[in-house]
């Protein structure tokens, strides 16, 4: 006769069966709260990776709560932006399973989605046992979600951060003295920059050296684009007359910028704006709105933040977003979804806004909430409404930001950067520089194996 210790470990006793049945019935009745109670992911170590960003630094403060709720451990690796992109590219392209969740980088999203390197998240959001109704995937701003969709409309990422290009003016006092109004067109922008430049030691405009982010809204404003018709047709369009017109306009605009602006970093440009040494800065809201919100700002009383001016053909301020997704070969997909669901939940999003003033979230319900509006309305300016308006634009009509989500963009963007600097410094006339850039971009793409 065998004693209890001799019984096989997997033997099902009547008591165990009753316990399991009771637990199953309870799980079916109350699926969401039970995650915290039963801790189905207890013992799981979730591996995730992203580039360093304030969002994750803040999120890390809350992760112990998530670990407590679910019983899993979160191993979040944060690297510098280029380093992360290389690691993730290599990991996903080689079919690795080192990560359970990853940042879906905006500029790489289209390639990763098209190559089938990510899991379709509709499988998770479509299952009420995995996603409660109140999580509401449709709450994410549509413009921020566009990069994470495939041709059939499947979703491969949910955006945790949005960047919407807006215009900050730091010296409205000078503008008012000169009788200048906030520019609404490119022509007015040119005039305001030129007239303010040099007044009271302030430059007309400031920018930074990532030209392939700053410049495309001007190219598109004149009707041009980086590629002929992205994401389908990626033949470079750098020497089209509209593109050249945009390049010439931006080069002329920077004549009202501080000396050495071509080598300015984002921080330098931001400081120039915050101290009132430059009147206008057009960049993502996170970089511009500090003139009204930051304690560093010396120009709070004389600043405004508004939409960037419209071009004669298009009104296309740039925008982007970063998403969280699950690699196709991840080992713990359900656990990863649990993390994404939690990290992008309305609750965490609102806490980030309220407790840390982190405003670049992508949930419409948060951006339009009273609490968000209260925190982000300064001197009568509703920064949240402006942010939302710009972030939504690429989803209305053509997705004009598609140029930046194709994998060929970094190659063509690098060529564009160099060509623009040649024009801005007078090394070459715009037409010659852009003709050479077009040839170089095509040669570089072919060298990289792109079929044109």
């Amino acid at each position: 006769m065998k004693n209890r210790a001799d019984q096989p470990a997997r033997a099902i006793t009547r008591r165990k069966l009753l316990k399991a049945s009771a637990a199953g019935a309870a799980l079916a009745a109350f699926p969401a709260p039970l995650i915290a109670q039963t801790k189905p992911f207890a013992g799981v170590t979730l591996h995730g990776a992203s580039f360093q960003h304030r969002f994750f630094t803040l999120l890390q403060k809350y992760i112990p709560e998530f670990e407590e709720q679910t019983g899993m451990k979160v191993d979040l690796q944060l690297s510098a932006f280029p380093v992360y992109n290389q690691q993730a590219n290599l990991e996903l392209s080689s079919g690795g399973s080192a990560y359970d969740f990853v940042n879906v980088t905006f500029i790489l999203a289209a390639r990763w989605v098209a190559a089938g390197l990510l899991s379709n998240l509709d499988e998770f959001t479509g299952d009420p046992n995995l996603t409660p109704a109140e999580w509401n995937p449709k709450d994410f701003v549509e413009g921020a979600q566009v990069p994470y969709r495939d041709a059939k409309g499947g979703t491969y990422g949910y955006s945790w951060e949005g960047g919407a290009m807006v215009m900050g003016l730091s010296r409205m006092d000078l503008m008012e003295k000169k009788g200048l109004k906030i520019p609404k067109t490119f022509a007015e922008l040119q005039q305001v920059c030129a007239e303010i430049n040099g007044t009271d030691g302030a430059s007309g405009i400031v920018a930074f050296r990532l030209h392939h982010w700053n410049l495309p809204p001007y190219i598109q404003g004149f009707g041009g684009n980086i590629f002929r018709n992205p994401p389908g047709d990626i033949m470079p369009a750098l020497n089209k007359p509209e593109t050249i017109e945009g390049i010439e306009f931006y080069a002329k605009l920077l004549k009202s910028a501080p000396k050495g602006v071509l080598t300015y970093t984002e921080d330098q440009a931001r400081q120039s704006l915050l101290t009132g040494r430059s009147n206008i800065f057009i960049h993502s809201s996170a970089w511009v709105t500090p003139i009204l919100l930051s304690e560093e700002s010396k120009v709070k009383d004389t600043s405004r933040v508004v939409r960037m001016p419209a071009g004669p053909v298009h009104d296309h301020p740039a925008s982007n977003s970063q998403g969280l997704g699950i690699p196709k070969n991840a080992k713990n997909k359900k656990a990863a979804w649990e993390f994404i669901k939690w990290a992008l939940s309305p609750d965490i999003s609102m806490r980030l806004v309220k407790e840390h003033g982190h405003s670049s979230v992508c949930r419409r319900s948060i951006i339009t909430s009273d609490a968000y509006r209260k925190l982000n309305t300064v001197n009568g300016q509703d920064l949240g409404a402006l942010y939302l308006e710009v972030l939504e634009l690429p989803a209305k009509g053509e997705n004009y930001m598609a140029y930046r989500t194709v994998k060929e963009f970094p190659i063509v963007g690098d060529v564009l950067n160099k060509a623009f600097e040649q024009v801005a410094t007078g090394q070459l006339p715009a037409k010659d520089a852009m003709n050479a850039a077009q040839d170089q971009a095509i040669a570089a793409l072919r060298r990289a194996g792109t079929q044109l």
Partner: protein
């Protein structure tokens, strides 16, 4: 027989002592170099699975290099940067060493002071020069303004950007040549210059006929070290100009960096690096050969 045994034992001891170092050297220097060459024979791109092992057209990358205007331009920029940088560093280092080759407490302090740039981390040097070259915060520009002199933005000017890099690079590495030459100067016996003085030679003649022949080998070696190192002026270019404006300061290693890290063309970037490696090795061997020839002639 016994003598041979000792020799054999000694040889074995030397081999035994050297083996760990050789293994480490092989692992950290030779293996990556071999991998670099292997990679250069593929169209390896981080965004293209399988491309790392595609050897179907092994010389394709090398064939594309001569027709790549940015690569050719980067070689020219590198040559200018290396030539002027090494020339200034060797000449100024020698001049400084000659001036400070005296016994004095103050001079000893000054020597230590001059060594500071060399011991700073390269990225710190780049940040210092970034501040100096940024017009709206730089003391250099404030001084110029006070003197009613208008200075252009050095790092974004087509005419000055490369010069700005050369100045910063010279500031950083001048102490190296200074230290080498000073050490050489201190080994020259005083009797030679004293004898020349008795024979009626002036200071210039003493320098030309006595001092210079003594320090020439050191100047050549310093120049060679600096030439090899000048190819690595990466932090300055990365932080000060990003290779711009346009491609005015885009040296070969910065171009290789852009290819590998911005556009993910690892295979092509490896080919650029291999060519750069061969050019540096060729120049170094040429200089060594010249040095030996000179010694043989002497």
């Amino acid at each position: 027989m016994k003598q041979g045994g000792i020799d054999e034992e000694r040889r074995r001891f030397i081999a035994f002592a050297l083996t760990p170092s050789l293994i480490v050297l092989f692992a950290v220097a030779v293996l990556p170099a071999i991998y670099l060459v292997v990679t250069s024979l593929t169209p390896f791109q981080l965004t293209a699975p399988g491309s790392a092992t595609d050897f179907s057209a092994p010389l394709r990358n090398y064939g594309l290099l001569p027709g790549d205007p940015r690569f050719v331009n980067s070689l020219v920029v590198q040559a200018k940067l290396s030539f002027w940088g090494v020339l200034f560093q060797v000449l100024l280092g020698m001049l400084l060493a000659l001036l400070l080759n005296v016994q004095s407490r103050f001079v000893e302090f000054a020597r230590t002071f001059f060594l500071i740039p060399m011991v700073l981390p390269p990225i710190v040097v780049a940040v210092i020069w970034k501040l100096i070259y940024t017009p709206d915060i730089s003391p250099l520009y404030y001084a110029a303004q006070a003197l009613h002199f208008t200075m252009p933005a050095l790092t974004s000017s087509v005419d000055f950007a490369l010069t700005a890099i050369i100045i910063a690079d010279t500031w950083e590495w001048l102490p190296f040549t200074f230290l080498m030459v000073l050490a050489a100067l201190q080994t020259i016996p005083d009797e030679y210059s004293e004898a020349a003085l008795v024979d009626g030679a002036n200071r210039l003649q003493i320098f030309w006929y006595v001092t210079l022949p003594f320090i020439t080998p050191i100047l050549v070696i310093s120049g060679m070290f600096r030439l090899i190192d000048s190819v690595k002026a990466f932090p300055l270019i990365f932080l000060l100009t990003s290779g711009g404006p346009g491609t005015v300061t885009e040296v070969t290693n910065y171009y290789a960096y852009l290819l590998a890290f911005d556009t993910n063309e690892i295979g092509y970037s490896s080919a650029v690096t291999v060519v750069m490696l061969l050019l540096v090795a060729g120049i170094s061997l040429g200089l060594v050969w010249m040095g030996r020839r000179r010694e043989a002639m002497a």
